[in-house]
């Protein structure tokens, strides 16, 4: 059987104010402290479209090579649920902002193009907290802070063929949005949410099987696990001669399975009609071209450039382009210390030790600026300090925000390259290591390494390892 998956992704647009009113979109504010009559759906109010939200939607549409429609419209999607007090959600239906795009994904080194069917704008709904579980709750608590927050919904074509591809799509999708500053892509805060349609069909068949909608996948891990589970569940059901029921299932991350939502028999009768309170949008070419001109290099393009321009392994390029801030950090450091692979190693092992590759803010505000990292690498390069000491200096820079040279000077970390001084230390070490000398004479090269280690230890890691190796070899050959 062949797996067929399509993803619907909702991303919160990075605006200061809501989609149709001026309420702030800040995450984590006290419940119901960021609302007004418009986003609480009071009668008689008038929503007005946030221009920035439209602009961000177009930005994303261009990045996915979508056709931006010359005219689009908002519609009311009717349903009765307390997360939306006016009993309809303002969204786009027949005339979305953009259509027919694609996104390239990479799985196991092979790349595939996944179609994007449509991209539209809508408003988010309020958040419900159930007193107890959803099924047993006698009442629910509602916070309308999220109500009216601008969302972009993007529907992929059913082009994904495995849970792994679905996870790769979501990752690539998120990377584009974060890179473009369209969304912060934070799944934990709900800024990025994903539903999936999953079905199976006989290999070679062109018809789609009965699809099941999976909801409540709140992390990349959940997406992969939920879809793997669902594919297995459907395959087993079909193998046993059962029929797949078209339904919505919720992923239960704690228990590791999907379960059917209690069926709401009327749930999909949304009775869409044009939103009378919002006039249509006409998107002129000039606006689109202006937005296109402001687009930064996309992650995929930048990744390819990092490989060709800097000669980096694809693995390094992949990590360094996880966010715009990180890519810019790397390039700034390379401008001052033009050894890309060395810079890449330090960024990946030291800078990213305590901050995430996509944590734009932490990267931009790190006390170890690109210039300071370059300064540190210069000190290794000219032999002032060893690589080992450099890692300590990096830690000190991270905490204190000083230049490497200042730290090295103040703390006397300069590498010992004085041959006479090192020779004395080596003599002392040899004097107390007759066993190691004997092992070495019998051909055990590991013994020499142990001796180097002892010398490094005796000098507090400051000895120049190249000189220690040479001196030690000379002395051992004379014994």
């Amino acid at each position: 059987m062949e797996t067929v998956i399509g993803l619907e992704v909702h991303a919160q647009l990075l605006t200061r104010s809501k989609m149709f009113c001026g309420c702030p979109t800040t995450f984590g504010a006290p419940p119901n402290s960021q609302t007004c009559p418009v986003c609480q759906g009071m009668p008689g109010v008038l929503p007005v479209v946030n221009r920035r939200a439209v602009e961000l939607g177009i930005r994303a549409a261009l990045a996915f090579d979508c056709r931006v429609n010359a005219a689009c419209r908002f519609a009311r999607k009717h349903y009765y649920y307390p997360d939306m007090p006016k009993n309809y959600q303002i969204t786009q239906y027949e005339e979305p902002l953009a259509e027919d795009g694609h996104l390239e994904i990479e799985v196991d080194g092979a790349s595939r193009t996944i179609g994007i069917q449509r991209l539209h704008l809508e408003e988010d709904v309020g958040k419900l907290l159930h007193e107890g579980t959803l099924e047993t709750a006698q009442a629910s608590l509602v916070d309308y802070n999220r109500s009216g927050v601008p969302l972009m919904e993007t529907v992929s074509r059913p082009d994904l063929r495995s849970a792994e591809e679905a996870a790769a799509y979501l990752k690539a999708f998120r990377a584009v949005l974060v890179f473009l500053g369209v969304s912060n892509g934070n799944m934990e805060e709900g800024s990025l949410r994903c539903d999936a349609n999953v079905s199976l069909r006989p290999r070679g068949s062109r018809e789609l099987g009965t699809k099941v909608e999976i909801k409540n996948m709140n992390s990349f891990r959940s997406v992969k696990q939920a879809l793997e589970f669902e594919v297995r569940r459907q395959a087993e059901a079909l193998a046993a001669g059962e029929r797949i029921v078209q339904e919505t299932r919720l992923w239960d991350a704690d228990r590791g399975y999907t379960r059917a939502m209690r069926s709401k028999e009327y749930a999909h009768d949304y009775r869409y009609f044009p939103e009378p309170d919002l006039v249509p949008l006409t998107i002129d070419r000039a606006w689109i071209e202006e937005i296109r001109a402001g687009l930064p290099e996309l992650p995929r393009q930048r990744r390819a450039r990092f490989v060709t321009q800097y000669g980096l392994p694809p693995y390094d390029a992949e990590i360094l382009t996880q966010s715009r801030a990180l890519a810019e950090y790397f390039e700034a450091a390379v401008r001052e210390f033009p050894q890309p692979k060395v810079v890449s190693n330090w960024v990946m092992s030291e800078l990213l030790r305590e901050l995430g590759a996509d944590d734009e803010q932490a990267i931009r505000s790190s006390p170890v600026t690109p210039a300071r990292l370059a300064g540190l690498l210069v000190l290794i390069e000219d032999g002032t300090i060893s690589g080992k000491i450099a890692k300590e200096v990096f830690e000190k820079m991270r905490r204190g925000g000083e230049d490497a040279r200042a730290i090295v000077g103040r703390e006397g970390l300069t590498q010992v390259a004085d041959e006479a001084a090192l020779g004395r230390v080596i003599d002392q070490v040899l004097a107390r290591s007759p066993r190691a000398i004997e092992d070495y004479k019998r051909g055990k090269t590991a013994a020499a390494k142990a001796l180097v280690g002892q010398v490094m230890k005796a000098t507090g890691g400051k000895a120049n390892p190249g000189i220690v190796n040479r001196l030690l070899e000379e002395k051992l050959s004379k014994i």
Binding site: P37, V48, V54, Y266
Partner: protein
């Protein structure tokens, strides 16, 4: 002609409970609206763009600027039921 079942379906979508008399009255009223729509349908509208708005306006937008929201207490004041800073609503899933 709209049937009893269709009226019940629409009422259910709007979470309205109708008595038999109300149901019948709604059915009659909806039918008279539909009859009027049928008269409109008889008109030849070839080449006329479907109308979603009565005013010929496009692109009414605002800048992305924050306006102070309404005070929390004011927004919660008319709630039939509340717990602390939250609105409280009856159970959602029907048993």
């Amino acid at each position: 002609m709209i049937t009893r079942e269709e009226v019940l379906h629409i009422a259910r979508l709007a979470r309205l409970e109708l008595s038999d008399t109300e149901l019948e009255r709604m059915r009659e009223q909806l039918n008279s609206i539909l009859t009027y729509i049928d008269r409109l349908r008889a008109l030849d509208v070839t080449g006329v763009e479907p109308t979603s708005h009565a005013v010929p306006l496009v692109n009414v937008m605002r800048d992305d600027e924050v306006v102070p929201p309404f005070p929390q207490d004011e927004m919660l004041r008319n709630a039939p039921d509340r717990v602390g800073e939250f609105f409280r609503v009856p159970r959602i899933i029907e048993g």
